[in-house]
């Protein structure tokens, strides 16, 4: 479905005639980035990759404790409203009828005013900047940095630098390509440079180990095991995540070649003996 920007203003909003991104508020914010690019709006670095968002299914006045944030709506008349947020917001999407008005902020803000492009407001989506960003440096035990994929059975060191994070502990979860938790490092302490260093040994000769592994970094201040009452991991504790790849089983391939060589050799010898 084509979503055509109707108008663009220099002061930070654009109207979209047909606004119906599939998925939840996260997908709305991702789509808003695309709309901003189409409308030649400069998306602030750090805001363009935001993946966390909250949605209010009304524009009524009130304080809303949302999944990631608390937002207060005041002075609402169904067509315009003022808002305040605990966390900095980089976009506000005001949905009405089939379209939407997208507000964006060069510097994320904690409050503002917004209004519909015309019809009454049906829902409001808030997109957040993820202030914490992680830099991972993967290396082998001998200190060589990763290039390409890790070999199976490797001992891997991940040195993580987190900007915008003041606490001194994190919890790090390593997931295999199937999404299952392979290792958990609880309460990892930062070193003198503020970096978090973990070492893990990859499985060996495991066909299911081939693929993308995920490293998730969680707020270490949380001591509840990072699970809610249903035993699910709490997304709001996650600071960042990244992936690295693990290659297939070389022994398996080598074994296949050896078997092929032997069969060929036997065939050759038997032909010369007959």
């Amino acid at each position: 479905m084509i979503m055509m920007p109707l108008a663009t203003a220099d002061d930070g909003w654009t109207d979209v005639s047909d606004w119906s991104p599939e998925g939840g508020p996260d997908q709305e914010c991702e789509q808003a980035d695309i709309i901003c690019e189409q409308a030649d709006i400069i998306v602030v670095p750090g805001c363009e990759c935001n993946i966390i968002a909250d949605k209010i299914e009304t524009s009524a006045n009130g304080e809303y404790g949302l999944k990631y944030n608390t937002v207060k709506i005041t002075n609402s008349n169904g067509y315009s409203f003022d808002w305040e947020s605990d966390d900095p917001v980089c976009k506000v999407i005001v949905k009405a009828s089939t379209g939407a008005r997208i507000y964006y902020y060069d510097n994320p803000v904690k409050g503002g005013s917004a209004e519909t492009y015309g019809p009454a407001i049906s829902h409001i989506t808030f997109c957040y900047c993820d202030d914490d960003s992680c830099e991972h440096v993967f290396s082998y035990m001998d200190g060589d940095e990763l290039s390409g994929c890790f070999a199976q059975g490797s001992t891997v060191t991940d040195t993580i630098t987190i900007t915008g994070y003041d606490a001194t502990t994190v919890t790090i979860i390593l997931r295999d390509p199937a999404g299952d938790i392979f290792e958990t490092y609880d309460d990892v302490n930062s070193d003198k440079d503020g970096k978090f260093v973990v070492t893990f040994t990859l499985p060996k000769d495991d066909l299911s180990a081939e693929g993308d592994w995920t490293v998730e970094v969680y707020d270490g201040a949380d001591t509840d095991g990072h699970e809610d009452e249903n035993g699910e991991l709490e997304d709001d504790d996650m600071i960042c995540s990244t992936t690295f790849c693990v290659s297939g089983v070389p022994e398996f391939i080598a074994g296949s070649f050896m078997a092929l060589f032997l069969v060929g050799g036997i065939y050759f010898v038997m032909r010369h003996n007959t």
Binding site: D180, F182, E183, T184, N189, G231, L262, G265, V269, H272
Partner: protein, 145 residues
């Protein structure tokens, strides 16, 4: 190459092939005949030192679920008779999971059941499986602050 040399090469190839077949069969049958489905749990401690943290210990709990069904595990950390952390994880059949945590001796309270002059600091790691009330593995470690 003479016929004799070819025969030697042929026999050597057969021997190598037979060895590979034996090793393969051994691996397969070891897996098939392994009827012990009780999860294997190892709790280990490594004492380390860094200029920044001083003396500290890395505790690792390795759980191998060799059963044919998935199991839920809880790893509890207990200090001075108080549970300070519960970590819950589901381990799928045939998979292995590792839990690690750093213990800084300075942050381990002195056990209240020790004498007042004691500096004995104990952290206990207990592993529970599914809804079983009794732990399936536990280990206590003593630290000196």
């Amino acid at each position: 190459m003479t016929t004799e040399k070819l025969r030697v090469a042929y026999i050597a190839s057969l021997l190598i092939l037979a060895t590979l077949l034996v090793l393969f069969a051994q691996g397969v049958f070891t897996g098939l005949l392994d009827e012990d489905s009780t999860p294997v749990i190892e709790i280990n401690r490594i004492d380390l030192y860094s200029d920044f943290l001083g003396n500290y210990s890395k505790i690792s709990v390795k759980i191998s679920n060799s059963d044919t069904v998935d199991h839920n595990f809880t790893i509890s950390t207990v200090q001075d008779e108080v549970t300070t952390n519960n970590y819950n994880v589901t381990i799928r059949s045939g998979k292995t999971f590792s839990y690690q945590t750093d213990v800084l001796p300075d942050r381990v309270p002195i056990s209240s059941n020790e004498t007042i002059n004691s500096t004995l600091q104990v952290t206990k790691f207990i592993v529970y499986m599914d809804d079983r009330p009794k732990p399936i593995e536990e280990a206590s470690f003593v630290f000196k602050g």
